[in-house]
Subunit: 205 residues, 2 copies
């Protein structure tokens, strides 16, 4: 398997963390895509992912899988039991619910702030709507308070075990710190959780 | 099981279609939430779904599952084999990739147009950024062209069998027609597919 990525960015971190949690890192060739210079918008890359985003997982038969939820589903079902996406109907449902919220309320919201209300990727931005970016920054702050409440008395967002939404939320907070939005002081559950996840080997994979 | 929904809206249609495709409709009590009058933003409903959106699936033990992908995962794994979300790692990955694209490129894009560039839900809209809504309308149009290419020579987006992203895309096109954005004339694969899905009993469930 190959993963096309750009190491400094939060969505590639999600795929790397999922691979590391599943013990699959050694079976994957990681290929860097020069995102700051627009390599992800060139025809060769758009053939892999018409949406023009990293990461993309390419299977040995050439099948290209984009979108982090999809990549995580693949890796999770390729080795051992599916710990990241759950085994029972109820686990799967709760994990996917929290996954979507970690995206919409934290990571994607912070990403919209980056692309619309900061310099973003500069010339590569198709459009910048500052008001939307600033609104999404507020969504991300509310999202952190929401996950702080989810994490009350819990080791990870689903309970005792790390699952897919923990990875998404961790990548979201990494972006939030990079953009100097900051994790609210009062979000003590979230801050403790961030340090806990940060100590896992997968976080520096 | 109960599903809290508002029958006229596209996301509730996704849950109803998934239930019907799985033969589970008779086992679910559907409860209407008066979205136009803001019932989905009142404290009683926010206890079920802090994000304040329909649909929400409530299991017999009281567990509340929001987000359509999560609801579909639950229903799909609760009866028979998982036809909507796939059985193998590769099927699961491709289905989740297309699911995310059907959301981001069509349904969510059209929904942003509705909320930001039309009257939307009126007084209930927290903020309206017209430029963002108009931009997302263009995303939805490009998204329809993308899915038209996916559907070339295929009965459904994954091939011979209807899966989760077909439902999401169908709900997206229903919204697009409601908002009079229109399906491009040149998207003949997409138009044929829309009529094919529309003839399934689940489409009028």
């Amino acid at each position: 398997m190959k993963i096309y990525e750009f190491r400094a960015f939060p969505n590639p971190l999600r795929a790397r963390m999922a691979a590391a949690e599943k013990g699959l890192t050694d079976r994957i060739e990681f290929i860097q895509v020069d995102v700051p210079n627009g390599e992800h918008k060139r025809p060769e890359f758009l053939q892999l992912n018409p949406v023009g985003k990293v990461p993309v997982l390419v299977l040995d038969d050439g099948t290209a899988i984009a979108e982090c939820t999809a990549i995580t589903e693949y890796l999770d079902h390729s080795a051992g039991t599916p710990v990241l996406t759950g085994e029972t109907a109820q686990q799967r449902a709760q994990i996917h619910m929290l996954q979507r919220r970690a995206e919409a309320l934290v990571l994607d919201a912070a990403s919209d702030y980056f692309h619309h209300a900061t310099a973003g990727l500069g010339k590569l931005e198709p459009i910048q709507i500052k008001e939307w970016g600033e609104y999404q920054r507020q969504v991300a702050i509310r999202g952190m308070h929401y996950f702080d409440s989810v994490l009350r008395g819990r080791r990870y967002v689903m309970g005792e075990q790390l699952t897919m939404p923990d990875i998404t939320l961790f990548a979201g907070l990494a972006l939030i710190e990079l953009l100097q939005i900051g994790i609210p002081e009062t979000c003590t559950n979230l801050r403790g959780w961030r340090d806990r996840v940060g100590q896992r080997p997968s976080a520096s994979a």
